[in-house]
């Protein structure tokens, strides 16, 4: 059976895995965002403890994905939830890091002008800091998404499904078609999502900020 034939014959299964993969990525990146952006903003208000938190988060990130999954497996057993938990934790760091640096790198003169003309702290955040940090924050979300797409293939190991399922099946049965049926779509998904976020990013950036930051 050629690879193409394999794709045609198993299209239902592959599509199912693909959808599950999207779900894994979508849910964990969203969770990561919901935690990382507010936490990042909070850290910019308590800069003294910020390095501590960021270093801690960075440390967690260096724990290999397999080890984390192992822990999750031990703690929560097999299934979707432990996978989502681990993936969400991994999704946090790039967003947290970029939210924090994006805001702290906003030029002091804008903040001073904003405060000087009578903006409150929350107005400064909403009207000045977040808009100016937005492209950096979205950059973090993009990184996070691309990474999560590949990490999510590990989720198959603890029975959470997704394209990883195909890869692990292929690996355990020495079936290259299975491996490729998981690997190729996940690579494509990574490229497509990254491109999509980039596009949205460009659409949303006001003309005045274009070319100012990446």
């Amino acid at each position: 059976m050629t690879l193409i034939e394999f794709f045609i014959v198993n299209q239902k299964d592959i599509l199912g895995c693909l959808i599950r993969h999207f779900q894994l990525v979508g849910i964990s990146v969203t969770t990561g965002m919901l935690i990382a952006v507010p936490l990042g903003i909070f850290l910019t208000r308590v800069r003294r403890i910020a390095p501590l938190v960021l270093n801690f988060a960075g440390m967690i990130q260096t724990i290999p994905g397999l080890v984390m999954l192992g822990f999750a497996l031990l703690l929560f057993g097999i299934g979707l939830l432990p996978a989502l938990l681990v993936l969400s934790i991994y999704a946090i760091l790039p967003i947290l890091h970029n939210t924090y640096t994006g805001i702290t790198e906003v030029e002091k003169s804008y903040i001073e002008a904003a405060r000087g003309i009578g903006m409150t702290d929350s107005q400064i955040l909403l009207k000045v800091e977040l808009p100016l940090a937005r492209s950096t924050i979205v950059g973090g979300i993009r990184t996070s998404t691309v990474f999560t797409v590949s990490w999510a293939t590990l989720a198959g190991l603890i029975g959470a499904g997704g394209l990883g399922d195909l890869i692990w099946t292929g690996l355990s049965t020495y079936n290259t078609n299975f491996i490729l049926a998981g690997a190729i779509p996940s690579a494509i998904v990574a490229v497509i999502l990254s491109g999509l976020i980039h596009l949205i990013q460009k659409k949303l950036t006001p003309r005045g900020l274009k070319g100012v930051s990446a």
């Binding site: 002008a113 003309i117 409150t120 100016l132 006001p206 003309r207 900020l209």
Partner: protein, 375 residues
């Protein structure tokens, strides 16, 4: 009116403001000047409470500013900084309207303000309102920075070296615009600079600070004439003498009085002899009553004068004359348009007081600028 009462501020050990007390009248253009680090910015920022003094009071229209809500206070005081600080994510229009919007003005109210202000600085609304700051020149950006400070019509505007980063030509035109706007809109402006030129040009009152204290608070004229401290004189160095050249000097101070004069009846050969003896190439011709008649030069005698003729017959009357009390500027202009390269200085009774050549003028100005050079 802004009133400082014994305002002090320290950072750790270093005292930055040492008991400042002074008053700013409504509608005055007040310039804070002084050496770097003397506390100008700190003083300015205590007014809109970006910095809280350790002790002392600042009264704004009689109200203790410490009792006012800082956010509301700042919305009622315009603020312009050197780095301009226009929000790059907002258009020109949004930047100007930012304070009115904070104050919840409806669009029907803030948009006409934006249009009017843009017209005020010669940047038509249609062309400029929808540009972003990055699409403007530095000078245009700071114009918008000034407009942003004016948009909610605050009676007081604070400016911290607003033109410090601009090239000299742009700076000059902005200085004029701000001065014009201030007069027109009757704002109280507190303006920080370290440029004495700028202070003298713009200020109604100059506050000279040093080491967290006020050395002198006076009008520019007063400060020029009676600087209260050697540091102030040093800061004003060139301006002091430039002013004395400009305003105080008259033709009398530029002229040389040892001038060769002759009656109009003097004969050609005799006059040539006289000029050669004195090593000059022209002389002044007088009427019989000693009033000024004209001039003759060796060249005119060579081309017109036959031996035995009276110089009065062919003398020239094209050399400009000035009165002894003529001011420096007009004298200077006449000197530079004089075909002979000098002007004749006359007393009130039309007798000759002396003459001014380019050399005598330059020497007198040099003396005024740098003290007596050649005695």
């Amino acid at each position: 009116m802004i009133k400082f009462e014994n305002v002090s501020k320290s950072y750790g050990e270093s005292k930055v403001l040492k008991g400042l007390s002074f008053q700013i009248k409504q509608g005055d253009f007040v310039v804070l000047i002084g050496p770097s680090g003397c506390g100008k910015t700190t003083t300015l920022k205590t007014i809109n409470r970006l910095i809280q003094p350790d002790s002392g009071k600042i009264l704004i229209d009689g109200k203790d500013s410490a009792q006012l809500n800082p956010v509301e206070l700042r919305r009622s005081i315009g603020y312009v900084i050197q780095q301009i600080g226009l929000f790059p994510n907002m258009t020109v229009e949004e930047n100007i309207a930012v304070v009115p919007k904070l104050l919840n003005y409806p669009k029907e109210k803030w948009q006409p303000i934006v249009k009017e202000l843009l017209t005020l600085v010669g940047m038509p609304y249609e062309e400029n309102a929808h540009k972003y700051p990055s699409e403007l020149s530095g000078g245009q950006q700071q114009r918008i920075g000034v407009l942003r400070a004016l948009a909610a019509s605050p009676p007081i505007v604070l400016m911290d070296e607003p033109f410090g980063a601009l090239d000299p030509i742009t700076r000059e035109s902005l200085q004029e615009e701000v001065r014009r706007i201030q007069k027109k809109l009757k704002k109280t402006i507190v303006f920080v600079t370290h440029d004495m030129d700028e202070a003298l040009k713009m200020a109604d009152v100059i506050v000279f600070m040093s080491g967290g204290k006020i050395l002198q608070m006076a009008s520019p004229e007063e400060m020029l004439q009676h600087p209260a401290d050697p540091l102030i004189s040093e800061f004003m160095g060139k301006h002091r003498s430039a002013l004395s050249v400009n305003a105080a000097m008259s033709a009398a101070e530029f002229m040389k009085t040892r001038v060769l004069k002759a009656a109009r009846s003097m004969q050609t050969l005799q006059s040539i002899e006289l000029m050669r003896n004195r090593d000059v190439n022209s002389m002044i011709v007088l009427n019989d009553d000693d009033t000024y008649a004209g001039t003759v030069s060796l060249d005119t005698i060579k081309s017109h004068g036959k031996a035995g003729r009276a110089i009065g017959e062919f003398m020239e009357t094209t050399v400009p004359t000035v009165n002894l009390k003529e001011d420096a500027r007009d004298t200077f202009e006449k000197l530079y348009t004089s075909p002979a390269g000098y002007v004749v200085v006359l007393n009130d009774d039309m007798t000759v007081a002396g003459l001014i050549t380019k050399t005598s003028m330059a020497k007198a100005m040099g003396d005024a600028l740098w003290g007596e050079m050649i005695s």
